[in-house]
Amino acid sequence: MAYASEIPLLRAIDSKAASFAVRAIVFSLLGILSLVGFILARRRIRRRYFDRLAGAEFYVRQHWDAILSGQIPVDDWRTAHDDAEAITALTLDRLDATTDPIETAKLHTFLRGAGLLDRMGVDARRLRGWQREIALVRLGRTRAPEAVPLLVSALDDPRPGTQLAAVRGLARTGLATAAEAMLERIVTGELAIEATSLLNALMICTRSNPRVLLPYLYVAKGSAREVLARVMAETASLALGDDLLVLAHDASPEVRSSVARALGRGEFGFAFATLDTLSTDEEWFVRLRAVTSLGRFREPRALPALLRGICDRSRHVRQRAAEALVMMPNSTDVLREVLDTQDSYALQAFIAELDRAGEFERLVTELESPSGPCSGAESSRLLQALESGTEKLGAMMRISAGSKTVETM
């Protein structure tokens, strides 16, 4: 270190230090001035822009019906940038808000006739970077069928941001044709599948016809298959029919778990039998999904599987089974059944869930009532069980050391 001044670079800097310092001051000063100047200029420009846009929006809202019906000719506003922007924004807002097919058709006709759809298409094709991303989502918001090919072509863009925007745009269309394009790319591995946006997009686009998923689900492999199964679980309808029965015996636990989830959604004739089988699956998350779905039916015939679930070796399955049991009608009978399992963890899980659902006090009041559902001796037995279970929960809470022993319960 003592010889640092002999290092050529240091010496050079030393000799030029003075001029360097001055240059550094000038650089910093210019930097500050440019930054402050930019802030001030940007504020001013933005203010003027938004003032203008607000004016245009006000005008458009005042004359909306005339614009939509063509009383105000398109040529009057098409080339005026702010007016065209305001009209496009308002049309898209209306499309977002409406579910009426007649209104939608009317707005589509207007978008096509005024050339706005074409313009949005051109933007989605020609713009680059974030501007293209915004244009793609905007195009999707039109929900026009002709938007789909343009959005699909953006799926092949190498930029992940553009791909994601295309997925979001396709989701906005909600059309099954949009789903097919995404599915093809997922199966071939051309589309990254990590993003939840993609799952959401597929759910939205396949909701009207979940069968569109099946051919892809059968040929997909690995994580792509799991993703498609997950989508199926959320969109399943009676249209899937026997395919769900076949998939319930799939080798992939993720697919079986998705089937269990799907069966809780619709009134499939084979749901109970299949869910009953899945509730004994070797994978804990398949069993968890099965008991959750069984719980949704709130029917006594689900009781045996749910009681099995509340005694499961997995804490998560026990918790979900307890959640389902609390939702069943006739809590007193359910409590009696839970007690009959002679599993203290099952009883604790049931009590904890009763409490979480705000049902504990109601059940106690019911049992204490002379006109309650069971005899005095029986209700005393049940009340005592509730009390001892509660005590055990309290004791567990007080354990602040040796947590491992508790964790393995």
Binding site: S5, G31, L35, E133, E194, S197, M397, S400
Partner: protein, 475 residues
């Protein structure tokens, strides 16, 4: 003597020059990164996320110690957050005041019958309560352990969601903060294991019903300077480091984690001084050690508003504590330095923390002394000395103005042009004498740590509705 001073000046010049280059690079990366994020947001619809069945449940954990003045508006604010499946766990960390009583009165707390599994060992839990008014609210009453970390660990034990978000009980989350912070996680749920949001200064803002009615800049000089510091720390520092997946800290005031990941590293270290920094360091260590592909993200638009110290004494205590927290985490993790298996964290982020954060006060002081001595002894020309000081002053001010620009081109929370003008003005006032005071506080922290003085001293704050001392958090 002259040779020593000569060499010292050269070395310190290099150090200073390198740090300036790094700050400039961080500013440039942050500007590009937040611009990209901001544009990305333009095509995002939060309402879609809200209605999606794939949006996972979150447990908010709010440790509270003697927060009777602010606990009710805080909890009200937390429960009003716009998120589909939310659970709020308030941990009453042995408060000596009426924190628990106020919660019981307001939310009709009842003893909860719930499975509490102590995955992480904590001080004794006295009771767990659930609100009869809002079943989403759970209050864990525990004995004090003297650390916020222990309280958070108790909250983690009681949490039932796959994601947990730790917030200070005296902080205020914006209603869409959770939806926004989940954006990065949902885009890559397998890899993103944690995300931090921005913490902004609440002082000066107009409040109504537990919500911010109008964002305003505080009046006190010392608080405005902290606004600039927070903008610089989050909008430049966090943003740029996160871009390279080298984020080493997620603020204790607002951060979201995958619960299984936090449990897998044993939760927060109860004896850690800077528990938030310490946790992230241990998460990096575990993930990199196991060669896992993971990311810790920073999301600049979900906002948590927090009250910062408004007196010199409190601020000094806080900064001394932060410095102690820094060394308390860096030292035990020194074996991560320059080890191949710890990748960028070991070769870039941690060395930066050592050299430009931990050693900064020592080197800065040495620099000031050396330059002054050199100027007195004539080793350094007086003109050059002056020029060097002016350059240092202007460059630091430029970086701060850069943070204001970053705020301006992206999130624009300070709408009033007078506030922006004041922010710019204070970028210049910050460099003298605040910077020198800050230097002293940090040195004080190092001295206290070296002496083994790690006693927590409360930071006085006014509270959301009334005066109350409270816990603190690293920005």
């Amino acid at each position: 003597m002259r040779t020593v001073l000569d060499v010292m000046n050269d070395l310190l010049f290099f150090y200073y020059f390198a740090s300036n280059l790094i700050y400039l690079a961080l500013l440039a990366v942050a500007l590009l990164s937040s611009r990209a994020h901001h544009q990305h947001l333009a095509s995002l619809r939060l309402e879609r996320m809200k209605s999606s069945p794939l949006t996972p449940p979150i447990t908010l954990i709010a440790p509270a110690h003697n927060e009777e003045g602010s606990i009710i508006p805080s909890v009200r604010s937390l429960l009003s957050i716009d998120y589909p499946e939310l659970e709020v766990v308030v941990v009453n960390d042995g408060s000596a005041d009426r924190t628990l009583a106020r919660l019981t009165e307001e939310y009709q707390l009842e003893l909860a019958r719930m499975l509490y599994i102590p995955h992480i060992v904590t001080a004794r839990v006295r009771g767990i309560y659930r609100s009869a008014r809002d079943r989403r609210l759970v209050v864990v009453d525990k004995e004090p352990d003297g650390s916020k970390a222990d309280a958070v660990n108790a909250g983690l034990n009681a949490a039932t969601s796959p994601y947990t978000c730790v917030v200070d009980a005296d902080s205020m989350l914006e209603s869409d903060a959770l939806l926004r912070i989940m954006v990065k996680i949902l885009e890559d749920p397998k890899r993103v294991i944690a995300a931090g949001g921005i913490v902004r200064v609440l002082n000066g803002c107009e409040l109504s019903g537990g919500r911010i009615r109008r964002v305003r800049l505080p009046k006190r000089l010392i608080v405005v300077i902290q606004v600039i510091e927070y903008l610089r720390a989050f909008l430049i520092g966090r943003e740029a480091w996160a871009r390279g997946n080298m984020l080493t800290i997620i603020s204790g005031a607002f951060g979201i984690f995958r619960r299984d990941v936090v449990l897998s590293v044993g939760g927060y270290r109860a004896e850690a001084i800077g528990e938030d920094f310490d946790l992230i360091a241990r998460v990096h260590r575990k993930m990199l050690g196991e060669k896992r592909d993971y990311r810790i993200a920073f999301v600049p638009d979900p906002v948590c508003w927090t009250e910062v110290p408004s007196t010199m004494k409190s601020l000094g205590r806080q900064r001394a504590r932060w410095q102690k927290g820094l060394v308390d985490t860096l030292w035990p993790n020194r074996d991560m330095l320059f080890r191949r298996k710890y990748g960028r964290i070991g070769s870039v982020a941690f060395p930066y923390m050592w050299i430009f954060e931990f050693l900064a006060p020592v080197l800065e002081l040495a620099g000031l002394v050396a330059i002054a001595l050199a100027a007195i002894l004539g080793v350094l020309g007086r003109t050059l000395f002056l020029e060097f000081l002016i350059y240092g002053y202007l460059f630091a001010a430029m970086i701060s103005v850069g943070a204001v620009l970053q705020e301006e081109v992206t999130y624009r929370r300070y709408n009033d042009w007078r506030d922006v003008a004041r922010l710019i003005l204070f970028c210049f006032l910050e460099q003298f004498p605040y910077r020198q005071l800050h230097l002293m506080w940090r040195l004080q922290g190092m001295w206290q740590y070296a002496r083994g003085d790690v006693v927590w001293r409360p930071v006085e704050r006014v509270g959301l509705e009334s005066a109350t001392p409270s816990t603190e958090s690293h920005p």
